[in-house]
């Protein structure tokens, strides 16, 4: 097991479906009609149902990240950032990748902590549409020493 800044997933495709937006919005107790009603979304100026801003976290399910594959210790979520150049709406398809932007090692009170800053990028027509930065913290203990 080793972590290095620059490690990157293959590109993967994501298509945003109406039902996925609705289910996700329900799961975070969001009652904004723009996530549920296409007509209301269109009246508000969006081409289709609008996705909640934390929606791209679902895209992680579709990525294969070799460097996290073999871990059997829980990862702690330290920080999360989303930035949008355009809204995500139903019917959109994105080409995405996830890469390790930064790797830091810190001495914590209970052992060594690895701080792994990941970036998910979503593109449409070769243009960046959004980024989602996810910082995960891994607690190292005997048996899972990281190179």
């Amino acid at each position: 097991m080793s972590f290095k800044a620059g490690m990157t997933s293959d590109f993967f495709y994501v298509t945003v479906k109406h039902q996925d937006i609705q289910n996700f919005a329900r799961s975070i107790q969001n009652k904004n009609p723009l996530h549920f009603d296409v007509h209301k979304a269109k009246n508000a100026g969006f081409p289709d149902l609008l996705a909640p801003p934390t929606y791209p976290i679902l895209f992680w399910q579709l990525a294969k990240l070799d460097w996290l594959d073999q871990l059997d210790v829980p990862l702690i979520h330290g920080e999360q950032k989303f930035n949008y150049l355009k809204p995500i709406v139903a019917g959109d398809t994105y080409i995405c990748k996830i890469y390790l932007k930064e790797v830091k090692k810190k001495q914590g009170s209970t052992g060594v902590l690895w701080i792994l800053k990941h970036v998910l990028e979503g593109y449409q027509n070769d243009e960046l549409s959004f980024t989602s930065e996810t910082t995960l913290i891994l607690r190292e203990f005997q048996g899972n020493e990281v190179e």
Binding site: N23, F24, A25, R26, S27, I28, Q29, N30, K31, N32, P33, L34, H35, A44, G45, F46, L50, P52, P53, T54, I57, L58, Q61, P74, L75, I76, H77, G78, E79, Q80, K81, F82, N83, Y84, P87, T110, E133
Partner: protein, 132 residues
């Protein structure tokens, strides 16, 4: 944007309790079945008092309240730091304070406080008018 100025509370503080069922539903939607969220024993073994809520669920719920205050706006950025774990079933208080605003944008600081008075999550979210 809208009728807010710097320092205003956007809405009353929100009181939220995230139940084991809410966490189970979020696990199913997000496909994140990490045992520290769903199983008492695993959470305790990992050093927590009991099961903890997905950080992303708290982040999502915190935004959901604002989403109704600015129903036709669009979020250009949203970032949070997860400072303390949020336990399943504990009472959370969420506050929303305007830290910047102009014609097209409004920026709001979000704080999620847990029962012992500590801030569990701190965040900043920025909304803009569509086409604005």
């Amino acid at each position: 944007m809208v009728a807010f100025t710097r320092g205003d509370y956007v809405c009353e503080n929100e009181s939220v309790i995230i139940s084991a069922n809410d966490v189970k539903k979020y696990a199913e939607t997000s496909n994140d079945f990490n045992a520290i969220h769903l199983d008492f024993q695993s959470a305790v073994e990992a050093g927590f008092e009991r099961e903890i809520v997905h950080g992303m669920l708290v982040m999502g719920i915190a935004e959901s309240r604002l989403s109704v205050v600015f129903p036709t706006s669009f979020v250009v950025s949203y970032e949070t730091k997860f400072l303390h774990p949020v336990l399943v079933g504990e009472l959370l208080t969420i506050s929303y304070v305007v830290i910047d605003e102009d014609l097209d944008f409004i920026t709001i600081k979000i704080e999620v406080t847990i029962e012992n008075g500590k801030i569990a999550i701190i965040g900043v979210i920025q909304f803009t008018n569509v086409g604005g």
